[in-house]
Subunit: 507 residues, 2 copies
């Protein structure tokens, strides 16, 4: 049985589901394969309806969902309510993506002459890969779990989902799944568009199943790399989209430090301790200018952290990993503790905020790796060159943040250019925690931030992970997908590339 | 030393270059990394100029290039002249892609309120990965080798190329490289945008180098999978785009067989023997309706193949592999030789066309795998269900071809639906050999056709393999790439997605 545990007490509250057997997994694969045909047959409009129906079903169960998730994750009802809103918005936004239709990259090249001789009629668009696996993360029980962005984008693409339930919130997963299934049924669609598996072993088996055509994963580098290696070494390898997290840097340029150090200290403290630091976009290191302005920021951080208290972390494993990770960091040569929040009580799994300072020449090994939880390391830089060298030492990441004012113009431009080469998102005069769901979002980055930097797990283009191109050569009109016909029946507004030119379908 | 050998004699003509040492490879990586910055700084327009200059430089050397390539590949001056034309067109088409700019997927979400609260200003586009490796194929010494589609699309994207020289045409590779370098210099660009390495060991090392960010490969399943596994198991894995080839099926529906069997026999013979069968898109198996109409097609194929003679193959390895492969096929139970072209002379490396027939229940193992060279296997099907089952047995491929007439309407629609799920290109009433360079082309398919079915190695979208998304949050206008500014200086005609809506930049 799978235990649902309350992080505030560390005690098991109930048992949820059982580990999935190999034969049950076989059955789920067969059902997902059948559901794939149904999702294709639904077409864009039908799948948009499915997603909106699922969002409505989640909304209907809001009170229960938030209560169960809070009991399993201790993230608080306010945050979880917001996360559920975001999760519903995500489903609705992918419905908009389907209505828009441009994600199909519909392309028509009419037959004609070319410098190489006659060319046949060629029509290209993106088609779903087939059933996919989704591995949710502990820290977002809705937005990056069973009903989250991977599921929303995969269903939008036309790919049924088999979701591995995260052990830190199984009851939330089951309740979310019930909502998604109710949404599917209300839309007249088979419930097999989304199924669950339980247990680590079933998760590994899932990645190996021939019926599974791609994997979306959000979690740790260790588990992510393990599953990536399995996906890549299959007889028939499949894409593995692992959002693994990394150490995100935040640089304060000298002018910004002098101008608004107090605001930066306040914002930075809030950012690295938000949700008990359990964000993959958490700034893990702050690079401050040596001297009084940087020193003032450090003082501001120190005062704030000293006034804070421990929070409940997501699971025993998370709390232990945070304790071990911070013990390692504290013990490194050249590292000093600046401030530590008050510890938690005897009950539950807690983590206290921690502020460290590291000598610049100590930055190597564990200091360049993510430590999940409310810890921030500050490092002083002494010159522009020194800063750029330090940043190179931290390697690729999901985000890179720069605080700069007018006085920093030349300086900050060089930092910006260098950061852009190694992160998925550059944040200017802001804080990286929190990832907007938008057309323009990129959530990902060069390894180890993700296993596949060409894609995103947040934002509308996340759908691109679940589709592959196909070309149809001289295929008769009646067999073409509607979006590739000369005169589509239901594609007003769709932008296609026709004979090389982007062209909207007009009625 | 690397030997350049004439396939018409099997004798070494000259020695070309030396195997690349590890230290030389290190140096090439450093130079490629520096060149990457220059390619980014050039911008879209600058890179378009570079590609056009390279195309012009290839044209200037046309006579020499074709002569050397013919001497090394025996493909004939006419075919090679056409291939060089295509190669130049490819470079020019990617210049058009750069002028168009839509490949950047430029996206602007202005700051604003959302159901989840305020959202920052977010701007997304695709940026180059950095230096990449290209492994050309033996069978297209221009179009899929040093100056080919992988190189053209990578340079367009802004990624310097280190190309592994194919042992079957080293002199052509060196001459092509000289032309590309001359084109770069004429455009005022560093010659380090393209460099060569020689030798298998250097090729393997190239895939392991941290400076290399992705690999384009066209070649055999064995070598492709080996390099894919290396790319995937690096400490920092990189995308590997392996176009490996597969067994492409051609189905003749009953109505088409009855109506125009003679035309199909003629076209099919030409398609599987074109270029001595050395195409990855070659139809390797023809599925014919049992009965007189299918029998007539088989007779037409038989007569034509008996009248043909052996041709020179690309290399000793290719000829040996064809000989071994066809010996295996001939020896399988349930396989009969229908016709065999006249053998070659004593000199050089030849392969004779071969037509086989296989019993339907013999279709397994080697009969479901690609045999590179001018061999075609015919198989009879007895019903629609039988055909669909046979097709499933052949697995994924680059292409799937259907010949169908009006009488085949329901039948052919089911074949079409099933094929679409497992190939990259469906060809209707045509022949798959030859891949048009176009916006609408997809050249790729589910494994083992390629290692990455989400991408193409031919056509304008091949550029997507070398770019990754980045989001820029609240970044000041002057630091944004021109394409993401509110008022771009040089982007008239560029279509961007602004606040969710595709919007052209107007002057």
């Amino acid at each position: 049985m799978i235990a649902s545990i309350d992080p505030r007490t560390g005690r098991k509250v109930e048992e949820v589901g059982t580990t999935t057997s190999a034969s049950h997994l076989d059955d789920l694969c067969v059902r997902a394969t059948a559901a794939a045909q149904e999702l294709v047959a639904l077409g864009r409009r039908g799948r948009a309806g499915l997603l909106r129906s699922m969002a409505a079903a989640l909304q209907e169960r809001r009170t229960d969902l938030v209560a169960v998730a809070d009991r399993e994750t201790a993230l608080g009802e306010q945050r979880l309510g917001g996360e559920l809103t975001r999760t519903c918005y995500q489903l609705e936004l992918f419905a908009d993506v389907l209505d828009d239709g441009a994600y199909l990259e519909a392309t028509i090249d009419h037959a004609g002459d070319t410098p190489m001789g006659p060319r046949p009629d060629l029509r290209r668009m993106l088609v779903p890969l087939g059933p996919v696996a989704v591995f949710g993360a502990s820290n977002f029980p809705f937005a990056f779990s069973v009903p989250g962005g991977d599921t929303a984008s995969a269903l939008a693409a036309g790919c049924p989902v088999i979701a591995k339930v995260h052990g830190a919130h199984p009851a939330t997963s089951v309740l979310s799944h019930e909502a998604l299934v109710a949404g599917a049924v209300a839309a007249g669609v088979t419930p097999d568009v989304i199924n669950l598996v339980f247990g680590r072993e079933a998760g590994v088996e899932l990645v190996k199943r021939p019926a599974v055509h791609a994997v979306g994963f959000t979690g740790s580098l260790d588990v992510g790399r393990l599953l990536f290696d399995i996906a890549s070494s299959r007889p028939s390898p499949i894409p593995f989209y692992g959002e693994l997290g990394a150490l995100n840097t935040l640089t304060v340029c000298p002018g910004a430090a002098a101008e608004r150090g107090e605001d930066i200290a306040a914002g930075l403290t809030a950012s690295f301790t938000l949700g008990v630091g359990q964000f993959c976009t958490k700034p893990g290191v702050a690079l401050l200018p040596a001297g009084p302005a940087g020193e003032a920021i450090r003082r501001g951080l120190t005062e704030r952290v000293e006034a804070m208290a421990a929070g409940f972390m997501l699971s025993e494993r998370t709390a232990r990993s945070y304790r071990d990770g911070t013990e390692t960091l504290r013990g490194l040569p050249g590292v000093r503790v600046l401030a530590s929040g008050a510890g938690g009580g005897a009950d539950g799994w807690t983590g206290a905020p921690l502020l460290l300072q590291a000598d610049a020449d100590a930055v190597t090994g564990a200091l360049t790796e993510e430590c999940f939880g409310p810890v921030l390391v500050t490092v002083d830089y002494t010159s522009e060159e020194h800063l750029l060298e330090l940043l190179r030492g931290f390697g690729p990441a999901l985000t890179g943040t720069i605080h700069a004012d007018a006085a920093d113009a030349g300086f900050s431009a060089r930092v910006y250019d260098q950061l852009g080469a190694s992160v998925g998102r550059v944040v200017w005069n802001g804080f990286p925690t929190g990832v907007a769901v938008a057309w323009g979002m990129q959530h990902g980055g060069p390894y180890p931030a993700t296993t596949n930097a060409l894609h995103t797990s947040v934002g509308t283009t996340a759908i691109r992970r679940w589709v592959r191109p196909i070309s149809l050569q001289n295929v008769p009109q009646n067999l073409l997908p509607d979006e590739l016909r000369d005169t589509p029946a239901d594609a007003a507004g769709l932008v296609r590339r026709i004979d090389g030119v982007l062209t909207p379908v007009t009625e």
